[in-house]
């Protein structure tokens, strides 16, 4: 007698909707990405950056408000350190526009661009687990025979990579904004720092959409994992070479670099030119140290460059992410 009942057991079950099915594709891919040890290291690094940013926001908050922790500490200090700190606090208090608006904007710009580099590495690590492995194992044939069409499949993969980038980029920034304000001595900081958050959401959100589409395109290029990762890294490095080339010859060459294009979007979104000009009028030395951002961002070229790259990537995905 058989130990197990090998008969066909009909399991009565409720049927789920298309969004849940797309969600399953996304979660499976996201889980596969996060199983990569190096991916977990990059995610950890992003969240360490989140803690660093939170700490800086905490310190800035304490500096800006009389009676904050820093103020108390300063009272216990002696000599020139106390004078410098008191002077800085007095100056910040006298220039609230710069102290709140500009400092938060610059800080979020700075951490957004640092985390963008972490995210480019994360995309490289995620690529094999998106479309590449489904092509190499032919699992895409099985997926395409289920009750999801190509659009659902691609949307699921898009959500997976977007999820990875949320963990390495947007998530840490938003959490840092919330924690930094929650730890500040005054609840008004939530209101005063809203512009910095808005800029972060616009810049990082837009960049994540472009980056995800480009990542999917590279992932669908080949069924070989090494090939797709190499193409991504080459795409990134060659972009840097084009920027160098564009500086000495034709300027439009710089727009072959997706990282340069994204940086232009960041400068335009955070409106650093205006922020730095305001700061430079009040703080000596600012113009000399961060004067590079006074250049007008090449937004049109950046958007055209990224759109062309995204369109090419979309065409690759549509052409290759199918069983035929």
């Amino acid at each position: 007698m058989a130990l197990i009942d090998a008969g066909y057991k009909r399991v009565e079950c409720l049927r789920t909707g298309i969004w849940q099915r797309r969600g399953v594709i996304a979660m499976n891919s996201l889980r596969a990405c996060l199983e990569v040890p190096w991916m977990r290291r990059f995610v950890t690094l992003a969240w360490i950056m989140c803690l660093v940013q939170t700490s800086i926001l905490f310190l800035v908050g304490q500096l800006l408000v009389p009676g904050g922790v820093i103020g108390d500490v300063v009272k216990g200090l002696g000599g020139p350190l106390r004078q410098i700190t008191n002077g800085l606090m007095a100056w910040l208090g006298a220039n609230p526009d710069i102290s709140v608006h500009t400092i938060y904007n610059i800080l979020f710009f700075f951490f957004s661009t640092i985390l963008s580099t972490v995210s480019y590495f994360a995309v490289a690590l995620a690529l094999p687990h998106l479309i590449t492995r489904d092509l190499s194992s032919n699992a895409i044939i099985v997926y395409s025979s289920k009750a999801v069409n190509r659009f659902d499949y691609v949307l699921g993969k898009f959500a997976a990579l977007f999820g990875v980038l949320t963990l390495t980029w947007l998530g840490p920034l938003c959490v840092a904004w919330f924690l930094g304000n929650a730890l500040s001595p005054n609840w008004h900081f939530f209101w005063h720092s809203r512009v910095a958050l808005f800029h972060t959401l616009i810049y990082v959100g837009t960049s994540m959409v472009f980056l995800t589409i480009m990542g999917l395109g590279v992932s669908a290029l080949s069924p070989k994992e090494k090939s797709t990762v190499s193409v991504w890294i080459s795409f990134w490095i060659l972009g840097g070479a084009f920027v160098a080339l564009g500086t000495i010859s034709k300027g439009w060459l710089k727009h072959f670099s997706f990282s340069y294009n994204l940086e232009q979007i960041a400068i335009a979104t955070f409106d650093l030119r205006n922020e730095i000009e305001t700061a430079a009028e009040n703080v000596p030395g600012v113009k000399q140290t961060i004067g590079q951002f006074l250049r007008e961002p090449e937004l049109t070229g950046a958007i055209i460059g990224l759109s062309v790259m995204a369109a090419a990537a979309g065409a690759v995905v549509w052409r290759k992410a199918k069983p035929e």
Partner: protein, 308 residues
């Protein structure tokens, strides 16, 4: 009985190469075999049926719906591809659970359903926690079959499901398919192992060079091949005499005298007219008959004949 698949003047080109050439046929409910040599168009046909390829011209209706870009129809079809299609880094239970969820099964039922199917395809539970990259071909075939059955489809399309299975495994899978057919599922199964299809399938569809060469039951196909003679092996005391009488009567395409002295193989021209005169011819020859054995055509012989 209405057809589960209706194909009319269907063609599919790959650039200048024709995968399917103006084919028309119906596939009735039950088990149907799809037979043809490599390059015959079997996989193209299966991909068109499962909505993975768009026909270049003509029409196809599967369970009353057009398959191209129709996920609603895919809910009713199970597909087991010929190619290796399992992610090697996953365990079968996890993969089947994901596919069940993608197919719309509720999360609380997906796990139980996956395990039931792994039992169903007789994959030893000792292997369930291994990654599929470590599996033998036969084990992978079973998982592929399980994923096709996941969402309890009305129509199963199986592309070479016996590939890589040992004889016992083939018998088990054949048993599963027969059981599913008895439960009322329609199954289209392609295979190069024609002997298995012969015993398994009620109907067959023979393809070659993108064209349908024959369709229907084995008997239908055989009766349609009028130019192809039946064979009858006769053991008697005077084979030459019997051969002479039959040949003169004009009912044979030919005959063979075998190595055995008393055996004769008659290649019959038209079975109906031959058998209507057979007793008369025996009496006329005056031979003493020891035995008569009909050599009915196997599917293999039919297949070889029609794909020549």
């Amino acid at each position: 009985m209405s057809a589960v698949i209706e194909v009319r003047e269907l063609s599919r080109w790959y650039g200048l190469v024709m995968g399917l050439n103006n084919v028309s046929f119906d596939i009735e409910p039950g088990l149907t075999g799809l037979v043809g040599p490599n390059g015959a168009g079997k996989s193209t046909l299966i991909q068109v049926i499962t909505g993975q390829l768009q026909p270049s011209s003509g029409s196809i209706s599967v369970l009353g719906e057009r398959p191209w870009n129709n996920p609603n129809l895919l809910k009713r079809i199970g597909y087991c591809p010929e190619r290796e299609s399992l992610p090697s880094e996953l365990k079968p239970r996890d993969w089947l659970r994901s596919l069940a969820l993608i197919s719309g099964v509720a999360p609380r039922s997906a796990g139980a359903m996956s395990e039931a199917l792994l039992h169903r395809v007789k994959l030893d539970p000792a292997h369930w926690d291994k990654r599929m990259g470590q599996y033998s071909k036969g084990m992978r075939q079973r998982v592929k079959l399980a994923q096709a059955l996941l969402h309890e489809p009305e129509l199963l399309i199986l592309d070479e499901p016996m590939n890589g299975l040992d004889p016992m495994g083939r018998q088990e899978i054949a048993g599963i398919l027969s059981g599913l057919a008895k439960e009322g599922k329609s199954i289209l199964v392609s295979s190069h192992i024609l002997a298995e299809l012969e015993s398994l399938c009620k109907n067959n569809l023979v393809l070659n060079w993108g064209r349908v060469l024959a369709t229907g039951s084995r008997q239908d196909i055989r009766s349609n091949l009028k130019s192809w003679s039946e064979q009858l092996s006769v053991t008697c005391d005077n084979p030459r005499k019997l051969a002479e009488v039959c040949f003169r009567a004009g009912v044979l395409n030919g005959f063979d005298l075998t190595e055995k002295e008393d055996e004769l193989v008659l290649r019959i021209r038209e079975p109906e007219s031959f058998y209507s005169r057979w007793t008369e011819l025996l009496l006329e020859s005056g031979v003493t008959v020891y035995g008569i054995r009909g050599q009915s055509r196997s599917l293999q012989q039919i297949y070889e004949k029609v794909t020549q």
